[in-house]
């Protein structure tokens, strides 16, 4: 068991003939992900990744021809909202958007539409999903992870890899690693993933990696107090971040005194979550959490 993606995932790659799309499609195939189709408008009928993946003009055609049930979006920011909506309209259940730089107003409309359709979006501006030994969807380096009982959810990319790498080195494998993305408006938030990990019989412990900006960590803290039985270890990046400055991620900004690391750490500690002082401590705390 795992959450969101596994060996039954049948993936369509939107933007498969682009540089990023092609490169990561090869990586995903190598990992064993079932990449069943690609979409690039105007390139239907061709193939990608040395003839291994058929390319379609539209997501609907790809779904009809291959039974794809998930999609990953690598298209540039100005086309990405359209790509997400197209996947939702074609009946894809899970859409993972890697693209960075989508305007907030576009994402507000996309999310409102997706909520009506009942499609799940992960991202945008995220590294994607990795269920070790089964499937990877996105850009996470597959070889740093190994199957095991720890669920990982994070707003960040390399910081997540760092923690996953340390967990693996200590012999603690992962059920699924979920990068939810660093934008202000994202499809799937901490609480959604925590709920899935709580329900997943294979996940025994959970790592949550947050950062400054917004109040999703505070909302997660309430959820953990009320609904979670499994131990959660957290790390929050940005304790030294100045207010009013965006720290790389569009969503990582302290505004009007809200969204500070100190506030998030206090909210999590108040409900009994162990918060690591630095990323390397996360694996230590997971090893002893119980």
């Amino acid at each position: 068991m795992a959450i969101l993606v596994d060996k039954n995932t049948r993936l369509v790659v939107q933007g498969i003939t682009g540089r990023e799309g092609e490169f990561h499609s090869r990586q995903m195939l190598e990992y064993g992900t079932q990449v069943v189709a690609g979409v690039t408008p105007g390139k239907g009928g061709q193939t990608a990744c040395d003839g291994r993946v058929p390319v379609f003009d539209t997501v609907r055609e790809a779904v009809e021809a291959t039974g794809a049930n998930s999609s990953v979006v690598y298209v540039p920011a100005r086309f990405a909202p359209d790509a997400i909506l197209e996947a939702a309209d074609a009946g894809v259940d899970l859409i993972v958007c890697i693209t960075e730089g989508i305007p907030v107003m576009d994402m507000i409309r996309v999310k409102a539409y997706l909520d009506q359709k009942g499609a799940r979006l992960v991202g945008p501006n995220c590294p994607g999903l990795l269920t070790p030994g089964e499937a990877k969807v996105g850009i996470m380096p597959g070889h740093i992870a190994t199957p095991g009982p720890v669920g990982v959810v994070s707003r960040s990319g390399t910081l997540t890899y760092e923690v996953v790498y340390a967990l693996t080195a200590r012999g603690m494998g992962q059920t699924t690693c979920v990068g939810i993305g660093g934008d202000p408006i994202i499809g799937t938030r901490f609480v959604d993933v925590l709920e899935m990990f709580e329900a997943d019989p294979k996940t025994e412990r959970v790592v949550m990696i947050g950062e400054i900006g917004g109040n999703d960590e505070e909302i997660a803290a309430r959820f953990i107090a009320e609904r979670m039985t499994k131990p959660v270890v957290a790390f929050i990046a940005g304790q030294t971040a100045p207010p009013g400055k965006r720290m790389g991620h569009a969503g990582a900004i302290i505004e009007g005194g809200e969204g500070t690391a100190a506030g998030k750490i206090a909210a999590l500690e108040a409900v009994g979550v162990q918060v690591a002082e630095h990323p390397e401590q996360v694996a230590e705390l997971v090893a002893t959490a119980g």
Binding site: V104, M105, G157, P184, H278
Partner: protein, 386 residues
């Protein structure tokens, strides 16, 4: 990207929001000419991209053109929170009966825009939220149907606005929301919106946007070239501007340890850990994926341009990009930039041993570390005793 008050108010005016008569001056004599043209008392307002202008002496009332010229000279010589005042806005002074707050922001948790109104205008909304949160009334806005009049009536009633002002309030609120959406803003705020006591006769507005502020979504700027042109050079330090133009994500801080990291989250964690071990980060810097030599070189030049930097800490996670490739990128960059401060490198992930070996055997005085804690401690020590 932040807009100045005068830029924000000009956008508001395009959406039918009444603003005071006024114009921008860069010299005292221009300020005088504007005051003469307007007649009557004027307000001379510094245009800088920080809050607290009033407290800093950057906003003054002038009764005559003479006084406007004098005050403009005074204000134009000020530095407010480190920013030089280069422009003043000279506005006709308004008769203020009541001050209201009206603003639109994105509610991240609700994933929608939210309009907020408060009867306590003229103070920062964060202050009102802390001291008297019940004074703030909110309505969430559906992105497909927009802000409706029944919602603005709810706000108007909620803040106890005179019923005679509900209709002009509705026009202003809906105009403000349209300005917000059509500019791809992340904040559009009128504070204060002033009840002038005028009845709307002789074209005098009963409600007037006396101050305005907009922050634009950087990701939306590419479709608003007209707005992108309004960027003020003082919004960023020269280094931050250089970084933006080089496609690097950089924020200048006031510590002594230059940080070069791949990934935003890891970059913040690296800053935090230098503080944890008694140092202070000089910057946030995300060099992105790949860590190619030219990007590393550009990033290194930015870090070293800061005279406070006493040591540089490289913290790179090699995922799909291998650590040995990153090490080669760093070495090529060092040949070009030739830093004079100690450097600590920690490479972790794919091919980390090979990456470390390349750095150690390079002949550069590069201190290597395996853990982040070790790297941070070594960087803090190196910055103290170079």
């Amino acid at each position: 990207m932040k807009l100045h008050e005068y830029q924000s108010k000009r956008i508001f005016a395009q959406y039918g929001i009444p603003i005071p008569e006024g114009d921008v001056a860069t010299t005292p004599s221009e300020a005088r000419a504007i005051a003469e043209r307007l007649g009557g008392p004027v307000v001379v307002k510094s245009q800088v991209l920080v809050g607290g202008r009033g407290k800093a002496g950057g906003i003054k009332l002038a009764r005559t053109p003479d006084e406007a010229e004098q005050l403009a000279a005074q204000i134009l010589s000020l530095q407010i929170k480190g920013l030089p005042v280069r422009k003043v806005l000279v506005d006709q002074a308004a008769d203020i009966r009541q001050e209201i707050y009206l603003g639109v922001v994105v509610d991240r948790a609700a994933a929608r825009p939210v309009m907020m109104a408060s009867s306590e205008g003229g103070v920062e909304i964060e202050e009102v939220a802390r001291v008297n949160p019940e004074a703030i009334k909110k309505v969430h806005i559906d992105p497909f149907i927009g802000l409706r009049s029944y919602q603005t009536r709810r706000l108007a009633k909620g803040i106890g606005l005179d019923p005679a002002l509900h209709r002009p309030f509705d026009r202003i609120a809906r105009g403000l929301y349209r300005a917000f959406v059509e500019s791809d803003a992340s904040l559009a705020e009128i504070n204060p919106l002033v009840a002038t006591g005028e009845g709307g006769a002789q074209g005098l507005a009963p409600l007037l946007a006396v101050d305005g502020k907009m922050i634009l979504d950087d990701n939306g700027l590419s479709r608003h070239p007209d707005l992108a042109e309004m960027r003020d050079i003082d919004e960023e330090t020269p280094t931050e501007r250089e970084a933006r133009e080089a496609g690097l994500s950089y924020v200048q801080l006031d510590g002594e340890i230059g940080c070069m990291v791949n990934g935003a989250g890891l970059a913040m964690a690296t800053m935090d850990i230098t503080k944890h071990f008694g140092g202070a980060p000089a910057n946030f810097l995300d060099i992105g994926g790949g860590a190619k030599a030219d990007r590393v070189a550009a990033a290194l030049r930015l870090i070293l341009a800061d005279p406070n930097v006493r040591a540089v800490l490289f913290n790179i996670f090699g995922g799909i990009t291998r650590c040995d490739e990153v090490a080669k990128g760093i070495l090529t960059a060092l040949e070009e930039v030739k830093p004079q401060v100690p450097m600590v490198a920690r490479l972790v992930g794919t091919n980390e041993e090979e990456g470390r070996r390349l750095l150690e055997e390079s002949g550069y005085a590069m201190i290597t570390a395996t853990t982040l804690a070790e790297a941070a401690q070594k960087a803090v020590a190196a910055a103290r005793n170079p």
